[in-house]
Structure formats: C-alpha cells, structure tokens
C-alpha cells in the first residue's frame, strides 16, 4: 500500500505540473526545446544514482532518506513522458481544425479546452501511463532509501538470503506494474472522446 500511495501521489502531482507546462510550451517552441532537453537529461540519470545525489542535498534540510527524496525523484522522472506527450499531442492537432476553431471565433482558452486538449487526450493519457509504470519500478528501488513499499520485501529477502521472499517481492511488484499498465490502457480507450 505504501508503494501505491507513493506512486499515486507522485503521479497526481506530476500531472498537475506536467500537463499545464506541456500546454504552455506549445506557445514557445524555443522554451519547449530547452525544457524537453533538460528533462531528457534527468531521465537519463539512473534512479539509484539520482537518490544517491539527492540524499546529500536533502540531508542538509534533514530529509535525506525516506519519503521526500523518493517522491521528488518520481515527480522528476514523470515529467518527460507527461510534458512531451502533452506538448506533442497539442502540436499535432490538425492545423485545419485549429484554423476552423479560430475562424469560428473561439478564444485561445476555449480552443484549448474544447478542441485541443480533447484531441490530444490519447497521447496525454499514454504519457501518464508510461510515467506510472516507470514510477512503480523506481518506487521499488526507493525501498533502499527507506521509502518502504514492495521493494523492502526484495531488500529483506536478499539480506536474509531468503529466495522465496525475493521471488514473492519481484513477482508482486511485476504484477502491480502489469495490472496498472493494462488498467490505464483501458482508461485510455474509455476516456478518449468517442469521435477520435
């Protein structure tokens, strides 16, 4: 449950940051390039290394291990898929559709809410799914910095040389990832406006 809580909270916060940012980036392609570059560099950082870098920094405010570094890492990793998919999704809305929306007298905000976001929805949802699956994996590793979760099962199994415990931990976390992936795929289809 700790695991689900950590990942769930991180994803909600990531969506709240990533989707508006992705939308905003469609108004400035130069900024989009910079921001996407930065987050793809962050994405390249191995998760355990990111923890390793963050622990010394956060320990200066007394939060070196536990929930906070894990949470920040998950949010950082989620940004690239969510921002990139939102940005691409909105940019790829058929220019004719955008032109029609303008020509009919929609304001920028109306266009965004009624036309652009609904049409970009499948891609945005796919980004959220990628981020979630990734986070479940990273969340497992976070057990080593004391964030709890299913990773601790594997952790304890290894330190006690208890193969069964290791296998149970591995299988459970894999099943969680696969089930969530399938569930989000289903939602993706379900919440895509029917016309698309």
């Amino acid at each position: 449950m700790e695991h689900v809580q950590l990942v769930g909270l991180a994803i909600i916060v990531s969506i709240l940051i990533g989707v508006p940012l992705g939308v905003y980036l469609t108004t400035n392609e130069y900024l989009a390039e910079s921001v996407l570059q930065i987050f793809s560099i962050i994405m390249t950082i191995p998760s355990i290394a990111l923890f390793g870098v963050m622990i010394p920094i956060l320990s200066t405010i007394g939060q070196g291990i536990g929930f906070l570094p894990a949470f920040i890492a998950l949010v950082l990793y989620s940004q690239l898929p969510i921002i990139r998919n939102t940005y691409t999704g909105i940019n790829e809305v058929d220019p004719n559709i955008r032109d029609a929306a303008k020509g009919l007298g929609m304001t920028t905000l109306q266009r965004l809410i009624k036309v652009e976001i609904p049409n970009a929805m499948p891609l945005i949802m796919a980004g959220v799914r990628t981020a979630t699956v990734l986070n479940i994996g990273v969340g497992a590793i976070a057990a080593y910095i004391g964030a709890g979760g299913l990773g601790s099962l594997i952790n304890q199994g290894i330190s006690r040389s208890n193969t069964t415990m290791v296998l149970v931990g591995a299988v459970v976390v894999s099943i969680l990832a696969i089930v969530v992936d399938q569930l989000l795929r289903y939602f993706e289809k379900r919440f895509t406006p029917k016309g698309i």
Partner: protein
C-alpha cells in the same frame, strides 16, 4: 457590405502576397475569388476575418474596419468553411454545428430548433445524425455539416475557402447544386475561394480573378468569359471559354431571346426541360443523341424545336449584341 480598400499583405518585409486590391461586394452576392495557387486569394479571404493581418489598406465590413473590430466577436458573425471541413473530431455533429450558438449563449430550445432547421436545409436527417461523429460520415456529408456549422448563428457574411475542393467530381457537382439552392433561400454575402474556372462560372454572381496578389478582373462571369481584360485572364479562362459560358444559360434564356423552330408531330423526339443548362443541351446535340430537341415547359407542353443552329445564333447574339455589363 464588404469593401476592400487598397489592401496589401507583405510577408517578411518584401514578398507581396496581396497587392493593392480594391473591390466591393454587395449584400447577398456570391463572389468567387479565383486564380492559380499562390495568387493570394486565400490570404485575402483570411484577412477578412483577421486570421491574417492586413499590412496596408483596410477591409470594411458594414462600414466598419475589420482591423478595429473585436476579432473574436467579429468571427462569430462570419461563417467560415474550409476545404478539409475542419470539423472537431471529438464532438458530435450536433455539438459541431451548434458550436458558435453555444459560444454565444443561445438557450437549448433555440439551439435545437436551429439545428433541426439547418440539417433539413443541407439534406441530412437531424435525429439520425445528431449523436454521430464526423469520422462516421462520408466526405460529402462532412462538407455539408461544415456548411451548416458556418450558417449556425445566421451570420450575414460567409467565407468559404475551396469548400468543395477535396470532394470527387460527381459529389462536388451535386453539392454545388445543393448549395446554390440553399443560397437562393438564405441570400448571404459570400466570398468563395476557388481555383477552378468551371466552379467559379457556375457558383459566382461575380468573379474576382487574381494573379501574383493583383486583381486582374472583377466582373460577372459572362464578362470574364467573353471580354477578358488581358492576356492572363483569357489564358486562365481557357480557349474553350465560349463553351464554358454556355453553362451560364438555361434553355429558357434561349427561348426568351431567339424563336424556336415550329414543332411538327413527326416521329419521336427527345425532350429537354426549360431549366436545363445550355451546356448539357449542346452536349446532347453534339453527342448524336438527337439532331434536334423538343423544349418542354414546366407543364409538359412542348414549346418548339431546338437545334445547334439556334444555339449558335443565341450565343452570337449574347456575345455581340449584349451591352457591356460592369461590376
């Protein structure tokens, strides 16, 4: 109604897309902006609803400069139809058609009535299509819905950017005919972009022919076909321009102008209706389907016999004797 005053559009400091264009469009007129691709006709159209800015000059709509109007409010009062229909794939047909009334805050009842009226107008059953999505419709149906959407808030002016350009020829002809019928009923002021001279002659009350951003000729289709203003116009309308002009006339026009040969009841003769286009009549006569055709009025009474000689005589009269009309 719509006045273009010395309008120019200059891109990146030097490329003139539209070059000092002047002309007026009267209320209820359908004016076709015609020309080869890249001649600036679409740019000019998009300047009216300010999707493109005006570099020099001005466009007046109802004696008010479009530059000074509130863009959003103005666009809601101008119908806009584009080639690829631009329907919103995420919305149902009803939501699509009612988008502008919805933005304008019409109540549900009024929207419902308007939707039903518009769908009947474009020949689609309102209840059958209400909840369907654009991708479930054929190209022709989508384009009809596009027209309905543009008409939704009953705007006095419509801008149509090659609205039927993406359709295959048979459907295009059908929708052109339907739209002319609709226009007879609604009498909107319409700017209609086309690159097809046949479409222009068929649809336009007047044609504005462009080349490299400059207006070459602005007049009735008849004048453009018979009295091209310069070499470019005559080349653009084509060497078969006289033949094209025949689609401007119906059998009735001919009957009113020259007298038909008397009709004797001898053997079977093919008949044509009075509202048939002269172009079709010529085609029938040349096609050896018949050497002569009997003209039938609306009550089915035969008025006389039509031959190629008579058509020739009629066209001669039209070209040589009609006083020059100006725009």
């Amino acid at each position: 109604m719509l006045e273009f005053k010395n309008v120019s559009k200059i891109y990146n400091g030097n490329k003139k897309a539209v070059d000092h264009v002047n002309f007026n469009v009267d209320e209820g007129e359908l004016v076709v902006l015609l020309g080869p691709s890249g001649c600036g006709k679409t740019t000019l159209l998009r300047m009216v609803n300010q999707l493109e800015s005006i570099t020099e000059g001005d466009i007046h709509l109802n004696n008010k400069s479009v530059k000074e109007s509130n863009k959003i409010e103005m666009r809601r009062k101008i119908g806009y139809v584009i080639q690829s229909n631009g329907l919103f794939p995420n919305m149902t047909i009803e939501k699509n058609v009612m988008i502008v009334p919805d933005l304008l805050g019409w109540d549900r009842k009024k929207q419902l009535d308007r939707f039903n009226y518009l769908m009947e107008l474009i020949g689609l059953h309102p209840d059958e299509y209400r909840k369907r999505y654009p991708h479930e419709l054929s190209g022709g149906q989508q384009q009809r819905v596009g027209v309905a959407r543009a008409l939704a808030a009953d705007p006095p002016v419509m801008l149509m950017d090659e609205p039927f350009g993406a359709l295959d020829p048979i459907i295009r002809t059908k929708i052109q005919d339907e739209f002319l019928q609709i226009q007879k009923e609604i009498k909107k002021t319409i700017l209609f972009v086309s690159h097809d001279i046949d479409e222009a002659v068929k649809m336009g009350d007047k044609i504005a022919l462009f080349r490299d951003g400059q207006l070459q000729q602005y007049n009735h289709p008849f004048e453009i076909l018979h009295r091209p203003a310069n070499e470019f116009v005559s080349e653009f309308v084509g060497q078969d321009r006289v033949l094209k002009s025949t689609s401007l006339y119906s059998v009735k026009d001919l009957v009113d102008s020259v007298s038909l040969t008397g009709y004797q009841k001898a053997g079977s003769v093919q008949t044509v209706q009075e509202d048939t286009s002269l172009r079709i009549v010529i085609s029938k006569l040349l096609n050896q389907e018949a050497e002569q055709l009997a003209v039938e009025d609306t009550k089915g009474k035969i008025k006389g016999i039509l031959t190629l000689d008579l058509v020739e005589k009629f066209l001669y009269k039209q070209i040589k004797e009609t006083p020059k009309r100006t725009g």
